[in-house]
Amino acid sequence: MLTGSLRHCHCRREICMLIRRPSDILPSEITRREVWQRRRTLLRAALAATGAAVLPAAVRAAEKLPELRKSPLSTEEEPTDYEHVVNYNNFYEFGYKKPDPAERAKEFRTRPWSVRITGACEAPGEIGVEDLLRLFPQEERIYRLRCVEAWAMVIPWVGFPLSSLLQRFRPTSEAKYVAFETLYDPERMPGQRTKVLDWPYREGLRIDEALHPLTILATGLYGEILPNQNGAPLRLVVPWKYGFKSIKSIVAIHLQQHQPPTSWNALSADEYGFFANVNPEIDHPRWSQKYHRNIGDGLFAAKRETRLFNGYATQVGDLYSGMDLKKFF
């Protein structure tokens, strides 16, 4: 609606210009191309931030985000097909089968939305998603994603470092861990009506993991606003850990001294560790983690070898030096 009316104005102006004789127009009256282009970018950003809530999901998903910074931390690998990225999801809040979230999160409203940041920090508070988009420059991060179920994707996320957000609230020296919480609203998240997990979904990171430059909060993918089924409006992405660590639709972040309880770990501690670092040497008790299947590789493709820390060992290996990875899996 917003774009429609403004586009209309723009057309009308062009018509006026056509009617007037060129000599009538003062040079100062003409809007420079860069300026109106910038306006359109701003408009798109505003739409992304606020207007999106009124639009149906299909329209919203197609909304391109303004130009994005590329990142040297992105992988060169070919991203997984968009169709797979938005239709093959583990998001139990919207059902327990892979196609469920795409189907059942369609009507999920992600505005208004804010995130509470509490605990061991000097300036606890709440921040709206619009402010997040405005305050932190969004960039593209093409990351590998390795699910604990032995499949993988390459996803061009859009987001910003979690550290930028955390620094803003000034963590104190007592902040040793960061706890995250997903929205709890069984009305809007039908999967929460069944106690498959102890809702709300909870995840956690050690502070050094949370502040690592690879760790981002994602607000989009494929240059678009984050589709609901991928954890809109805001989700964590920790590319060297199994996917379940990358908690979706975050409403609360708590800085604390002790290791927080996390959902899958609480359900089955011997299968899902707190760290959950991708590691081909440490099998899930029920299946091997040595190999994985890349989504989109097709029926007859060979499985691929899983790498330590999902191939990010040079960047994150130091975080775990001297740690017994078999014990702290």
């Binding site: 239709n87 139990y92 327990y96 892979k98 196609p99 069944t194 029920r286 299946w287 299947r293 029926l299």
Partner: protein, 177 residues
């Protein structure tokens, strides 16, 4: 076959191997339970015509179990033998599923009418293995499930009902023997 065609054309979604594995496994278990339901259904409905279809249903179950096994072996594990053996030994759900399948082999092999005649009473005893196979199939499903146990629980319920129906008839039969 239809499933396979759809998998090749990409109709089975992002992870066709997983989808094929799950669907063939689902149908193996469904047909196995259907096979077990034939006798109770005949007794309840007093409709002996049903019995004619029992062998067919049983063979369908075997065909799906075989497909399930082959998909796991060839597409799932890419015939990587060390991995396959590691899984068979180290992972109870794989071992249990495998056993459920292996138990069906002699049953399928002796399903022909001539074999049944030749084996006589042994045939009946041998074919009681189907209960064990079905039970192992359900355990297999439970064991591989991550968190949402409603589906394997439904299969377990059906199996339990079918077994209770058998046990209830058993004592009466024993008296006449």
């Amino acid at each position: 076959m239809v499933l396979f065609g759809r998998a090749v054309t990409g109709d089975l979604g992002a992870n066709p191997v997983e989808e094929l594995t799950h669907r063939s496994g689902d149908w193996a278990l469904r047909f196995l339970l259907l096979t077990l339901a034939v006798t109770p259904a005949r007794n309840l409905l007093r409709w002996s015509l049903l019995l004619r279809y029992r062998r067919m249903l049983g063979l369908f179950a075997f065909a799906y179990a075989l497909t399930h096994f082959l998909i796991w072996l060839i597409l799932g594990q890419s015939l990587m033998w060390p991995e396959i053996f590691r899984d068979l030994i180290g992972r109870p759900y794989v071992a249990v599923g495998m056993l459920a399948f292996v138990l069906l082999i002699p049953l399928a092999a002796t399903s022909a009418a001539a074999m049944r005649r030749r084996l006589g009473a042994t045939w009946k005893q041998l074919h009681r293995l189907v209960y064990l196979s079905a039970a192992l199939g359900v355990v297999h499903f439970f064991w591989l499930t991550k968190a949402d146990w409603s589906e394997p629980a439904a299969y377990a319920m059906v199996l339990a009902v079918l077994l209770v129906l058998r046990v209830r008839r058993q004592p009466a039969r024993r008296e006449t023997e």
